[in-house]
């Protein structure tokens, strides 16, 4: 096994590629013919490969009235392509799963859209062929689109029935007046109802192209075979002559707390603080991640102690999006029956303002230790490795995948107190109430 690994990591040049860099056991290449990026990591003896293709297109590339288009398009890539129609077969992606039992799925986020397959290694070429075909030959007609739009509406309603999702959607729209992070990736319901194949086609042609994609190959396949097959299957694909269009909106300065509420016939009551922050993988992003862990992670955390243990609230939860631009994290509190939103808002504000180095310091080592354990757990599967790498790739630097311990070790209590002062300032917050009337 060791010998195999050694062979796989040995540097060698592959015709048709530029070797961009190798960090630890992951190598990055770029296809000379069209700029497609490739990340490769070898995991021997499993007999399994995960391929993941990530396009740099997500909700932030959508304009008003077309929210959720990136996600809708993601669904359409599981419909028949032009070659499928010629061969008179069902969608080759779906057929791949239905014939072989491979794991397949996709997801769309603020900055990216990702498609992945995990499968026994003998299907490598087939998986690549599907990705290459649907990069350029998706068919967008009413026949395929209309039933799928209903499924997306069903998905929308599934999320929107969740109080936390609904509140988060309202808060993002309140927090961002100009930047397209102001809407959820699923989009607004009315926008979904008014999509057309023409809108999808325009979006598809703008963003689905080799120079806007990274393919990851993680698993039991040697590097030479992997790169050779990728070149054979993707190498001939051409980019449009136009460049990838980008929305360059910059969010105006916030000058005061922003508030939003949702009222529903529910017995659930939520309070949520929206905290603006710099994008991933900035130092500030990791600082806020650490602070949210100190406040909310596990029964020992500051807010669990103060609010859950006293029965005032049912749960506290921190959430930080892996987006590249300035973004908004949330600190969401599920109130216990009878607890008032205003009371907990005041308590949380006071608790956070009262944080000191003495409170924070004991938590720092614990956050690092937990992060490392989580990494060890999550990195025992090629699928999970690909999922984690995806976020770093989409936000600009996949090598940060290896740096979390180093970044966290450098964080001090002083850094976190400075973050509290800057990012939790009342004038920068967005505060949401989900008010259940039952």
């Amino acid at each position: 096994m060791l010998k195999k690994q050694k062979n796989s990591l040995t540097k060698f040049s592959v015709p048709g590629y530029v070797h961009v860099r190798t960090v630890h056991d992951i190598s990055e290449y770029k296809l000379k013919s069209n700029g497609l990026s490739v990340l490769y990591k070898y995991i021997p003896d499993t007999g399994v490969i995960t391929t993941n293709i990530t396009y740099q297109v997500g909700a932030k590339d959508e304009i008003a009235g077309e929210t959720g288009l990136a996600h809708m398009l993601e669904h359409m890539l599981f419909k028949p392509t032009k070659p499928d129609l010629i061969k008179k077969i069902d969608s080759s992606a779906m057929q791949f799963e239905r014939e072989t039992g491979c794991t397949l799925n996709a997801n769309t986020w603020q900055d990216r859209t990702t498609y992945f397959f995990s499968y026994p290694k003998e299907h490598f070429a087939r998986a690549l062929t599907i990705e290459a075909e649907r990069m350029v030959e998706v068919v967008l007609t009413d026949k395929e689109f209309l039933p799928e739009r209903n499924n997306v509406l069903s998905e929308h309603d599934m999320y929107f029935g969740d109080p936390q999702f609904a509140l988060n959607q309202a808060m993002m729209a309140t927090a961002f007046h100009s930047h397209p992070y102001g809407h959820e990736t699923i989009g607004f319901r009315h926008d979904i109802e008014t999509y057309t194949p023409a809108k999808l086609e325009r979006f598809y042609r703008n963003f689905y192209r080799p120079d806007n994609a990274t393919i990851m190959v993680i698993g039991d396949i040697d590097k030479k075979t992997a790169l050779t097959e990728i070149k054979r299957i993707f190498g001939h694909l051409e980019n449009p002559t136009t460049s990838v269009p980008r929305i360059t909106a910059v969010e105006p300065k916030q000058e005061g707390v922003r508030r939003v509420s949702i009222v529903r016939p529910s017995s659930i009551n939520l309070l949520s603080f929206g905290i603006k922050h710099e994008g991933m993988p900035s130092k500030e992003w990791f600082l806020l991640s650490t602070l949210l862990a100190i406040l909310t992670y596990g029964p020992e955390s500051v807010l669990n102690r103060a609010l859950v243990d006293t029965g005032l609230v049912t749960s506290v939860e921190g959430s930080l999006n892996p987006g590249a631009d300035m973004n908004m994290a949330t600190l969401t509190i599920t109130l216990a029956p009878g607890t008032k939103h205003e009371v907990i808002e005041n308590k949380v504000t006071t608790l956070i303002a009262g944080l000191t180095a003495n409170v924070i310091t004991p938590f720092l080592k614990k956050v690092i230790a937990h992060t490392l354990t989580d990494e060890y757990v999550n990195r025992t599967s090629s699928l999970y490795i690909a999922m984690e790498l995806t976020e770093y790739t989409a936000t600009g630097d996949w090598s940060v995948y290896f740096d979390t311990e180093k970044i966290l070790q450098a964080i001090t209590a002083k850094d976190l107190l400075a973050l509290v002062k800057k990012n939790f300032d009342q004038s920068q917050l967005t505060i949401g109430y989900f008010i259940g009337t039952k």
Partner: protein, 432 residues
């Protein structure tokens, strides 16, 4: 991925050894079921948190502090009276994690102040379940199918909330004694040295007495007609459905594996391969997800089969009609040769993919060990699933899938469609 099994007194152990790993994982489960009672259910809710709320030598704060310094995790949960403890640790902290695990198993304090705190938290947690439409739909199905003392039975959330305050320290201690006395199933991964030291620890913790094997199991009730159960949860946007019926064959019954195979063809759980996903979702655009599987078949305890899906209120009638049509078709016409070949490949690949995930492999092994399988028997059982014949599958589907004798359990914004749902219950032919 290679596994070994071994046996300690009243402990079955499944192991994956890796001398290069930085991680140790352990899952321990104990079936403590004897007979369902609301009071007993309330004790289980409190126990899950109380076990982590302090030991003889460490109060809760000290325990959590010590645990969190390792970055490890210890979680405790109950599901249908099966306790599961999950442990994760980096190698370098395993000694500390062992000490903590030993302390919580051998000297939990169940202090009255902690119990009072936990009762309030449990009450609050239960309050949230009142709006869990998916959970309600499945619970209502189980409440209708199973007898009052069966492990699948459950009280209403409000009844449970009423019982939580009555939980006593004595009840928690008695439950803990039962946890120590009943057989343990353990799966773990780590280096050989870690496994050996953990096995010694487990053997020292296990109560040295014969387990109590009295389990109050009931055959599920038989259904003579279609039944509709409805719960209004107006804050939701979709109506959640659990559709199902009793399943009498248990794991080793000759009909069981053919039925499992056939149900996968109908609605393989996850992915897009099942007929329900192909038709109700892909072709008709009626739902985002629709899946089928057997549920809660424990050893000799019969369970049920279930379809899980959701529809927008205005599509509920059409969606249910399509679902019932698919049940009728597969029950009456069976699966095709092509589907047999396809699903053999699919189920075979699913086994291959387990090699990619340590945690999934361990979880898979744990479920088989819980049912008393040896490693050889696991391999043989999985091979049998891949060798079922079309005739066996179709016979099983005909026997156990009857669209006229099932429960349709619905929860969500149902006010405007109640009449339609009730009407559907009376309709014998879903096409009409």
């Amino acid at each position: 991925m290679q596994f070994e099994t071994s046996t300690l007194p009243h402990i079955t152990v499944g192991t994956h050894t890796d001398e290069k790993t930085k991680l140790f994982t352990l899952t321990l489960s104990v079936d403590i079921h004897a007979s369902y009672t609301i009071a007993g259910n309330a004790v289980e809710y409190v126990y899950s948190e109380a076990l982590l709320a302090g030991t003889g030598s460490l109060n809760r704060s000290q325990f959590l502090d010590k645990l969190n310094k390792t970055g490890g995790s210890l979680t405790v949960s109950f599901n249908r009276s099966i306790l599961t403890i999950d442990l994760r640790s980096q190698i370098e902290y395993l000694t500390t994690i062992h000490q903590l695990f030993k302390a919580l198993m051998s000297e939990p304090t169940f202090l009255p102040t902690e119990i009072a705190r936990i009762k309030k938290n449990v009450h609050n947690d239960l309050e949230l379940q009142k709006e869990d439409a998916r959970g309600w739909a499945q619970r209502a199905l189980e409440q209708t199918l199973f007898g009052s003392t069966d492990r699948r039975q459950s009280a209403s959330i409000t009844e449970l909330q009423k019982n939580v305050p009555t939980v006593t320290r004595q009840q928690l201690t008695a439950l803990h004694e039962r946890v120590l006395a009943q057989p343990w199933i353990v799966t773990q991964s780590g280096t050989k040295a870690m496994i050996e030291s953990t096995n010694k620890l487990l053997a020292s913790l296990k109560a040295k007495r014969e387990p109590d094997t009295t389990i109050s199991a009931h055959l599920p009730k038989t259904l003579e007609r279609r039944i509709v159960l409805i719960k209004s949860i107006p804050s939701k946007h979709n109506v959640e459905f659990s559709i199902g019926a009793p399943l009498l064959p248990t794991l080793h019954h000759p009909d069981y594996l053919p039925f499992v195979f056939g149900l996968a063809v109908l609605g393989k759980w996850g992915g897009f391969a099942g007929r329900l996903m192909s038709t109700v979702r892909e072709k008709e655009g009626l739902t985002y997800g629709i899946y089928a599987r057997t549920e809660s078949v424990y050893g000799s305890e019969a369970g049920y089969w279930r379809i899980m899906t959701f529809f927008a209120p205005e599509k509920a009638k059409t969606g249910l009609t399509s679902t019932l049509r698919e049940i009728t078709n597969i029950s009456q016409k069976g699966v095709t040769d092509k589907e047999m070949a396809r699903f053999k490949a699919i189920l075979n690949t699913q086994q291959s993919l387990l090699n990619d995930s340590l945690l999934s492999s361990l979880s898979d092994l744990h479920s088989y060990l819980s049912e008393g399988f040896t490693l050889d028997q696991v391999a043989e059982y999985k091979a049998r699933l891949l060798n079922v014949t079309k005739a066996e599958v179709n016979e099983a589907l005909k026997k156990y899938l009857n669209p006229d004798k099932l429960i349709i359990s619905a929860a969500g914004p149902v006010e405007k469609i109640k009449k339609e749902l009730i009407q559907l219950a009376k309709t014998a032919d879903p096409k009409s």
